[in-house]
């Protein structure tokens, strides 16, 4: 479904002592996400989660390595047709405050080159599913946080993508809104969609993910089902498992 092989992203930054050095925010990550599974990406701040997800979502070009999308496994690059298979949502994907939800969804549908009737049907459907009936024609700047989040989800669902890429979708949300998002991800898994998402909430990941990828310093330090990781480290809580892997990594370097 979605596959990354040896993806590297190099940025430049100013280092303590010296010249502008380049460093790899994502350093040779390979991963595969299959249909009907939720993959969680865990890692501390600056581990490269957002950069990795941006590359998987085709927002950024990898410096080297490939992102492959779909069954054919063709190299995606930044080709537009592949973007149509992806629904990408992050804290940075804000909506146009001066448009109404309906106008926004129409625009996004248009850009995905869906037919007018298709768009109308889909908006109807999403309005029901996400309970947006009362604010669908309001300007987005007037909506509450929870309503905005629902509009955001509708935005990334409108074209019925096959792969969902969520960057910390529950960050800063209340219990109601975040559980709505978690339920939504579970539902999509049932439909056979692939979901990859990053989070800081370990409990949430434990509850939701089929597989966990742990990222540290741009590299994958552990990957597998939660049970597998537990067996490997002998630790019970995900938090401890992560610390154990990170510690191993630092020692081996």
């Amino acid at each position: 479904m979605l596959q990354a092989t040896n993806v590297v992203k190099t940025f430049e930054k100013n280092e303590k002592h010296g010249r502008r050095i380049s460093f790899n925010a994502v350093d040779g990550v390979s991963l595969t996400i299959n249909q009907g599974e939720i993959v969680g990406i865990l890692g501390p701040n600056g581990a490269g989660k957002t950069t990795l997800l941006r590359m998987l979502g085709l927002l950024m070009k990898p410096t080297s390595g490939e992102v492959l999308i779909g069954e054919g496994g063709k190299s995606a690059g930044l080709e537009l047709d592949f973007k149509k298979k992806i629904g990408y949502l992050s804290n940075n994907t804000k909506l146009y405050g001066r448009l109404s939800v309906r106008e926004l969804l129409n625009m996004v549908g248009d850009i995905h080159e869906m037919s007018k009737s298709e768009i109308a049907e889909r908006i109807e459907e999403l309005t029901k599913v996400l309970d947006m009936g009362e604010f669908i024609d309001n300007r987005i700047e007037k909506l509450s946080t929870g309503q905005t989040q629902r509009a955001s989800i509708a935005r990334c669902l409108i074209h019925n993508p096959e792969i969902y890429i969520f960057d910390e979708p529950t960050l800063g949300l209340d219990i109601m809104s975040s559980s709505a998002i978690i339920e939504f991800m579970k539902q999509e898994r049932e439909k056979g969609k692939a979901v990859i998402y990053s989070t800081h909430y370990m409990e949430e990941a434990e509850y939701l993910c089929d597989r966990i990828i742990m990222l540290f310093d741009g590299k994958v330090i552990a990957e597998g089902s939660i049970d597998g990781l537990r067996k490997d480290t002998g630790k019970e809580r995900l938090r401890d498992i992560f610390t154990a892997y990170a510690y191993d990594r630092q020692v081996s370097e």
Partner: protein, 684 residues
């Protein structure tokens, strides 16, 4: 680019922008209400002031000895034009006080006459009057003018009387020639002329105002609100994204310009009617004659709107927030406003040269069109140059909008010069902000200090200018603790790289010759000027000239341009932008349109070599060769004539040009191949 995507993006951008209060105010309220209001208020106060001047009663005081006859000229009803209030027998000391207290406007005294002269020569004595007034007080000044004209008529009457007394035809002697000034311009032409000086300026102001807000809103505003990343998740190419944004800004710019024109047209026609009814202006404007002017004007405005939208967007694209964008756009606005004063300069005319200067060309064109001066070749040139600038700026915009640094909100590196040195980190790259400051300081220093020194002597001027060019960036780099080796690329080059440099500089010089010939044919006349300057240098002999014209600039200018300037560009942009940017600054530094293209070309080649070799020495060598060749050409033209007749040929034929061009390209390619030879070995 897909039309459907662009259409829906365009629709979205338009909705987004039009629902923003700021844009609507700038686009609609300002042109529709403010400008007409300003114009009307301006006109009203002007007429009020001038009628005040006309109808005012001026208070005139006379000294004791002024004759009653003259005072009679100032009595009520003596003149229809002015009215005066007369004080008689005022002593000089008192008058001075009254003048200062503004109790009186003017004081007239009869000068004491030299009695001895009268007695010895038995000649008629002139009456000498002195008019005292205060130039610092407006009414006093105007009063003095009025008094002067009354005195003139007094003088005229007196001469008439004297002539008649002598039995002569006074009227004929006083006015042997009669003059009549007739304005043969058609009424619409004079109206057009009047509007032509104001409208271009107003139009440019309104275009700027109109485009500024949408330009900020669709670029920096979008980033600030965080919707840009949403756009990036959608299947849109960067070209489609930026093109739709650009279309939006251009639409609003044009719409706002047209609104401005309409409202200004309304105000002008209103004022015209007032003028006609008052009777100050000839009747009979033929409005049909304005139609072609309006059509061409609209076309030009379209092209210009494209250009303005694109450059404002280019500037805003670097900003992350509204505030930052505002800061970036203000200097741009000032430059454009300054250039738009062109239409008010009567001596500046639209010709092949000014038609290529952005902003100035559009102002002059509109002025000319409104004055019914048509020259289709030049109109085409203006339209074409605006279109080309528009396209270039759109392409540049597309280029910078592609960079991930821009898209993911990396801001311009800050300015550290104002920080305390002990807080600075060592070995930082040069920031763009610092570069701007250094270039500004450099410009001022070169103009004032270098200029002052060159007044003393040409050689002093060169030496001081070059030392300034060298020392300012070095000081700035030292102060901001830049890595000197990296900033100024102090690295020993390989012999192979020097050989490549020689090939490339010869190639660049050959291409430069072709370019100079082309540019010279467009800007005729300036080429000779450039040659005349160089004659000054020749006084000191060949050796000193080589030292001052070739060695010194090669080291100093390279330190600044290929060292400091290019480091700043490289730390922020990619290779191509760094090379083009540095080359353009290098070209601009020579302060001549004719030299710009050639020097920018040379600069680009120098930059390329420095970028590839990471050493400044090849560039110094190249710069030296280029300038030294000019020296040789100056002192020993016969050498060049003998060995390289093509170079010396005064009349270069098209065939020669093609030959030079081909040779240049061959040299450049050879140089590049030599440069690349090493790289492949390393890869293997």
């Amino acid at each position: 680019m897909r039309s459907r995507v662009i259409k829906s993006l365009y629709k979205k951008e338009m909705l987004d922008v039009l629902r923003d209060k700021k844009t609507v105010v700038m686009m609609l309220v300002v042109p529709i209400i403010l400008y007409p209001l300003l114009m009307l208020v301006g006109m009203l106060t002007m007429t009020k002031i001038s009628t005040d001047i006309e109808t005012r009663t001026y208070k005139v005081a006379f000294s004791k000895d002024v004759s009653d006859e003259l005072i009679g000229y100032f009595d009520e009803g003596a003149t229809d034009e002015y009215s005066f209030f007369v004080y008689e027998d005022v002593a000089p000391e008192e008058a001075q006080l009254l003048l200062e207290q503004e109790k009186i406007d003017v004081y007239v005294t009869l000068q004491a006459t030299d009695m001895s002269a009268q007695e010895t020569e038995k000649k008629a004595v002139k009456e000498r009057y002195q008019i005292d007034y205060l130039s610092s007080v407006n009414n006093s000044g105007y009063g003095a003018d009025r008094v002067q004209s009354v005195l003139a008529s007094y003088s005229r009457d007196m001469s008439k009387r004297l002539l008649e007394k002598a039995g002569l035809d006074a009227d004929y002697i006083l006015n042997p020639v009669e003059l009549k000034l007739a304005d043969k311009a058609k009424a619409e032409e004079s109206a057009g002329n009047l509007m032509g000086t104001i409208i271009p300026f107003m139009l440019i102001v309104s275009l700027l105002m109109g485009t500024m807000y949408p330009a900020i809103d669709t670029t920096a505003g979008e980033r600030e609100r965080g919707t840009l990343e949403t756009m990036l998740t959608l299947p849109i190419s960067n070209q489609e994204l930026i093109f739709s944004k650009f279309l939006t800004v251009a639409t609003i710019g044009v719409a706002s310009a047209i609104l401005n024109l309409i409202s200004m047209g309304g105000v002008s026609s209103y004022m015209y009617h007032i003028a006609v009814s008052v009777g100050g202006m000839n009747q009979g404007i033929n409005f049909v004659r304005f139609i072609p002017a309006v059509i061409i004007g609209v076309l030009c405005i379209l092209a210009f709107a494209i250009f303005v939208s694109a450059i404002t967007m280019c500037v805003c694209a670097f900003a992350r927030t509204y505030k930052e964008a505002n800061n970036y756009i203000t200097p741009l606005m000032l430059v454009i406003l300054f250039a738009s004063f062109a239409s008010m300069l009567p001596n500046l005319v639209l010709n092949a040269r000014t038609a290529l200067v952005p902003v100035v060309n559009i102002c002059l064109l509109i002025r000319d069109i409104l004055a019914f001066k048509y020259n289709f070749a030049i109109i085409a040139l203006v339209l074409a140059s605006n279109t080309i600038y528009g396209i270039l700026s759109v392409l540049f915009l597309g280029r910078i909008y592609k960079s991930e640094g821009i898209l993911f909100g990396e801001s311009l590196a800050g300015i550290r010069i104002f920080e305390r040195r002990c807080n600075m980190k060592k070995g930082q790259p040069v920031a763009m902000g610092e570069l701007v400051i250094v270039l500004a300081v450099e410009l001022l220093a070169v103009i004032y200090v270098g200029g002052a020194a060159s007044l003393a002597s040409v050689y002093k001027g060169i030496i001081i200018t070059q030392l300034l060019i060298f020392s300012i960036p070095v000081l700035a780099a030292w102060y901001t603790k830049c890595d000197m080796r990296q900033t100024f690329k102090l690295k020993a080059p390989k012999p192979r790289e020097l050989v490549a440099a020689v090939f490339m500089v010869i190639g660049a010089m050959l291409l430069g010759m072709v370019l100079t010939a082309i540019v010279g044919s467009i800007f005729t006349g300036s080429a000779q000027n450039a040659m005349a300057d160089t004659g000054e240098y020749m006084k000191g002999g060949f050796g000193i000239s080589v030292l001052l014209v070739a060695v010194l600039p090669a080291i100093c200018e390279e330190t600044l341009f290929r060292g400091y300037v290019m480091s700043a560009f490289v730390s922020r942009f990619g290779k191509v932008t760094a090379i083009i940017g540095t080359a353009c600054i290098f070209g601009l530094y020579h302060m001549s349109i004719v030299k710009f293209f050639t020097t920018a070309l040379l600069g680009a080649v120098f930059c390329y070599v420095v970028y590839e070799t990471r050493s400044i020495l090849p560039a110094i060598l190249m710069h030296f060769i280029n300038n030294a060749t000019a020296c040789v050409q100056m002192y020993y033209p016969e050498i060049i004539e003998k060995y390289l007749p093509v170079f010396a040929g005064e009349t270069v034929t098209l065939q020669d040009m093609a030959l030079i061009l081909a040779m240049g390209i061959v040299m450049l390619v050879t140089g590049k191949m030599i440069l690349n030879m090493g790289c492949r070995k390393i890869e293997k």
